[in-house]
Amino acid sequence: MTQNLLKLRVQNLHKTFTLHGRGGIELPVFQDVSFDVASGECVALVGSSGSGKSTLLRSLYANYLPSSGKILINHHGNWVDIASVEARTKLEIRRETIGYVSQFLRVIPRISSIDLVAEVAIAGGSPSEKAMEAAVGLLRRLNLPEHLWNVPPATFSGGEQQRVNIAMGLVRPYSILLLDEPTASLDAVNREAAIELILEAKKQGAAIVVICHDEIARDRLADRLFDVSQFKAAA
C-alpha cells in the first residue's frame, strides 16, 4: 500500500478523562493507539463494552480531545493533526473531509428531514438544487417514506431517525467516514440498503472506520478488525 493512499493516521493516541468535580478522579480509556486507514479501506473497531471504541471514534471527529498523540487527517492532500489544529480548521475538515454518522440523531427543532440532509451538502459547497437532488436520492434509497421528508425527525422511530443520520453522513463524497453503529436500529431490508450505500462510498475511495456490533453488517463492510481493548490503559 503506497503512502499517498493513506487518509487517516492515528499515532500514539492516549485518552484519560479527568473528573474534576469528583476530586479529580482519572478514568484512563486507552493508551498508545496507532493505526492507519487507506482510501477504499474499512476498519471495524471492536472490543468489549467500555473498551473505548466510541471514545476513539469521537476523538477522530474532534468531538473528544485526546490527552496526547496525533490524529493525522489527509485534508485535500495535506496532513493535518485534527487533535491540535485551531478550531476553524477542525470545522473546515468536518465540512470537507470527514463525514460522521453518530448513533443518535441530534434533532434541530423545526428543520425537516430533507433540509437536514441537504444542508450538509450546502455547507460543503454544493449549490442548493444539487444538494436537494442528492438528499432526495439518498432518502429514497434508504426507503424513508416520502411523506416524512418534509417533517422534522423529532417524532420519527429509531430506525427512521437512523436513516436520516446515514443520509447526512453520506450526502457528500467525504474521503473519510466515521460510522458509529450505522445499522443498529434498522430492519433487514433497510440494513441492506445502508450497507449498499456504505460499500459504494468505500468503492469510491472513502477510508472508513466503523463501530458495528451487528456481525452480518460488520463482515460485509470491514476489511479488518481493530481491537481497542488491547490498548486498555492501567487504572
Binding site: F17, T18, L19, H20, G21, R58, A62, N63, Y64, L65, A87, R88, K90, L91, I108, P109, R110, I111, E119, A123
Partner: protein, 257 residues
Amino acid sequence: MNALLEAQSVGHSYAGGQLGCEDVSFRLYPGEVLGVVGESGSGKSTLLGCLSGMIEPSQGSVRFDAGGQGLRDVFSLSEPERRLLMRTDWGIVRQNPRDGLRMNVSAGGNVGERLMAVGARNYTEIRGEALDWLTRVEIPSGRIDDLPRTFSGGMQQRVQIARILVSKPRLVFMDEPTGGLDVSVQARLLDLLRGLVRDLGVAAVVVTHDLAVVRLLSDRLMVMRQGRVVESGLTDQVLDDPQHPYSQLLVSSVLQA
C-alpha cells in the same frame, strides 16, 4: 481568509477596581459564530460591550476589518466612523427588544429607519424591503404599521432582528437573544437565527448562559469565569468533553430534558 474581528488581551476594570474581564484574545472569521457562556458576573456582557464598541477596554485592543480595508482599532475610529460602522457592518441584538427598538415607531418604520440611516430615500422601496424582512422573521404583513408595544415579547425580538439584518451587517452581537422568552418561542427564534446566520453568512458573537443556544447556533465556544476565558474550542467538544473544572461543572449542572 482574513479575520473580521480580533480581540487582543482585552481587559476592562470598572471604576472602583471591579474586574469586568481580563486577557481575552480571539479571532473571528467571516461567517463564524462564536458562543460565550458563563454564569452571571463572569464578564460576558462586559466583554460584549468591549467588542461592540460600547465600552472602551482598559487593556488590549479590539480590531475590526471594515469593508475589507484590513483590521483597524475600533476605539481609534472617529465618532462618525464608529456610528457608521454600527449602522452598517454591525448589528447588536439586545436581550430586551425595548432597548433595541424605537417603541413609538411602527414595526415597518423600525426596519426602514436603518435603511434611511444609510441613505435610502425611496419610500416605496424602503417599505417593500421592510415588509420583506418582517416576513422573513415571520411577522404577519398586516402588522407592519403597528407599534412594537402591541407585539408579544417574541415578536418584538423578531422585529429587532429584522431591523438589524436589513442593513446586511457582516457581524452581529447578540446578548442573551432568547432570554425572557417562552421555550416554544425560543425554539422558533433560534431556528430563525440559525437559518439567517447560515443563509447570509454573517459572523456573530452570542453571549448567553443557555448551553442549548450555543449548541445550536455557535461553531466555537468560550467559557468564562471571573472575567477570564477558562476554556475554548469547538462547541460540541467543549460541551461533550469539557476539560476545565468549571466547564465540567457548568455542563454537568444542566438538567437533561
